[in-house]
Symmetry: C2
Subunit: 401 residues, 2 copies
Amino acid sequence: MIVSEKMLKFGGNSAIRAMFEEGKRMAKEFGPENVYDFSLGNPSVEAPSKVNETIIDLVKNEDSLKLHGYMPNPGYPEVRKKVADSLNSKYNTSFSAEDIIMVVGAASGLNVVLKTILNPCDEVIVSAPYFMEYRSYVSNYDGKLISIPGLKGSFQLDLEAIEKSINKKTKAIILNSPNNPTGVIYTRESLEKLAEILRRKNAELGIDIVLVSDEPYRELSYDGYEVPFLTNIYENTIICYSFSKSLSLPGERIGYLAVSDKIADREKLLECLVVSHRILGSVNAPSLMQKVIERCIDIDITPNVEIYDANRKLLYNILIKAGFEPVYPAGAFYMWLKSPIADKDFVDLCKKYRILVVPGSSFEGEGYVRVAYCVSKEMIERSENSWFKVAEELGLKSKAE
Amino acid sequence: MIVSEKMLKFGGNSAIRAMFEEGKRMAKEFGPENVYDFSLGNPSVEAPSKVNETIIDLVKNEDSLKLHGYMPNPGYPEVRKKVADSLNSKYNTSFSAEDIIMVVGAASGLNVVLKTILNPCDEVIVSAPYFMEYRSYVSNYDGKLISIPGLKGSFQLDLEAIEKSINKKTKAIILNSPNNPTGVIYTRESLEKLAEILRRKNAELGIDIVLVSDEPYRELSYDGYEVPFLTNIYENTIICYSFSKSLSLPGERIGYLAVSDKIADREKLLECLVVSHRILGSVNAPSLMQKVIERCIDIDITPNVEIYDANRKLLYNILIKAGFEPVYPAGAFYMWLKSPIADKDFVDLCKKYRILVVPGSSFEGEGYVRVAYCVSKEMIERSENSWFKVAEELGLKSKAE
């Protein structure tokens, strides 16, 4: 067999991606207006117009060789400086350009970080439910994923259980807040307590646990919820950021790593992160998009957030009215919906009424499904009838207006 | 230590990249016109004007959500079909869209392939000298690189030695023709003999050796040299292509994998290549650039090749006149120059006269240096005096015109 044994175990497509392909198939069969595809985190709001204006301006006026050429592996120095300056002014941090590494999206950034820090059998803690690819990313470098269920109902961090799971093999904890799939934002209080625990355990065990923060949804918070900036809370923090959601550029693969300037072994770490980036084959973040970020990083994206917020309220109200029990999300663009039956059966029942959602078990979150509301308002409205039919078939009691 | 033991061994920067940074530093100190930087394979010829025109047209006229959004992981179906059609018409192959996977440049493509096929301790053969990152790529997946020196003087494949090195653990052979760093193109005869050897060994040992062809320089051949298309010669072939050099887009990270439609375990392999691509974090090739390729793949790049060809002749003549012994390259944009002293000392001597070249030992090609002539004609002309001074200091006999 040409394929390696390890890869064979990964089997096929991801559940989310499979659903995405299924949605395309169903759209062909039933017409796109009759399929309610809530499966993928693909922004439904266009990139701010300044993004496309900037692309045109760059292509017309910049030196084409520089615009599309190699630059130092961690990115154009002026772009890295701009990212550092932007973070410093927003979050009162003290990043310099060298703490910033431009990467091919947050997923690639996470791989770069994990490749750099993980020894075989090192443990990486995540709070469940979690974005399922974390398991693959950790396995890529022979690490061991330790999944700790979030607190029941609130899905906040179970700090006690996290503390108990820490041992000499613990190398990192991956946080994702605002969270995919729950939409939960971890409170400042819980993050500060987590930092205390990590510091205590570091001292006790003579280790340096790295907090790896996966932040593609950082700006997507509603009702004024605070998303605390983690390098201000814990020194051994690496932030993996993507512009996929904030600037609606998921296909362009553009993001950055921001490495705390107080992290342990900083110099060696920065050097090795750049080496990992190169030898994993990403080499550098796409050049034109780097230059776009330089000019667009401080765009006010409030209008886009307001559109997702309106979707959030609309979908939540429909689900509540139909008799479901969704978690009201504080951020991101996912609703975490309690499944009245086994989640895979629930997904199938939804599909019967042409609603596509992802089973919670794909996130180690059995008993729930994820409903991505980064879709058009019109689609949410059109889906109402189907949600009621699903509820009816389940014998749920719909609530009066 | 936060950094893993394996990564620590990689040490710091690559020699090429270190030289690139050194060149930037020297340009600041001495003025860019007084530094002759032949270190990096960064195209000196602009992308064809149609590339930038296409970007503007796409941004102005395409649906922004689709242009910058997620698509199926292996790429937009219409882009994959266009690549397949283009190859089929040029090389008389029979690719379908599903044999093509759009990737984040050839380096990422190589990682995707090696991750998919390598079991720990599997052996991967390369012909030395070779692009030094191959060693890291193979090591990423715990494979073992087996380096076989090319034939003395010609740097063609040493088929006898390759055959002898094949055993049950042999999983792949990486070819790179036109070659970086030698500029050599492997002859059709040698490739057909190689295919015979691989087939014989496959049958004898019950294995399926994969020919992984790294082809960023495919179109850069001079004097009508043929670059044979490898899926037509050996069935278990995967081509890793990049548009970095042909369309002068190295910073944009855009390329593809073309998997022979006659490869062993084809269906499972294609599925797992896509999974590797996703879980390594590349997820998909940059979306805007995919759409650029759809429209620009068949651009006639003869004018660009002619510029490199003129550089090739100019540099070769200077070096010969000065008394050096370069290998006259058939393709790519590198000259492989015999070093009259230890190559690292030669590099230092060149640096004294502000010429930057890469030591052959960085490619497992001791006794030579690599001179990249993807630079401006003017820089080559300006460098003449320095080359003569280096030759003089080495006591070389310069040749009359």
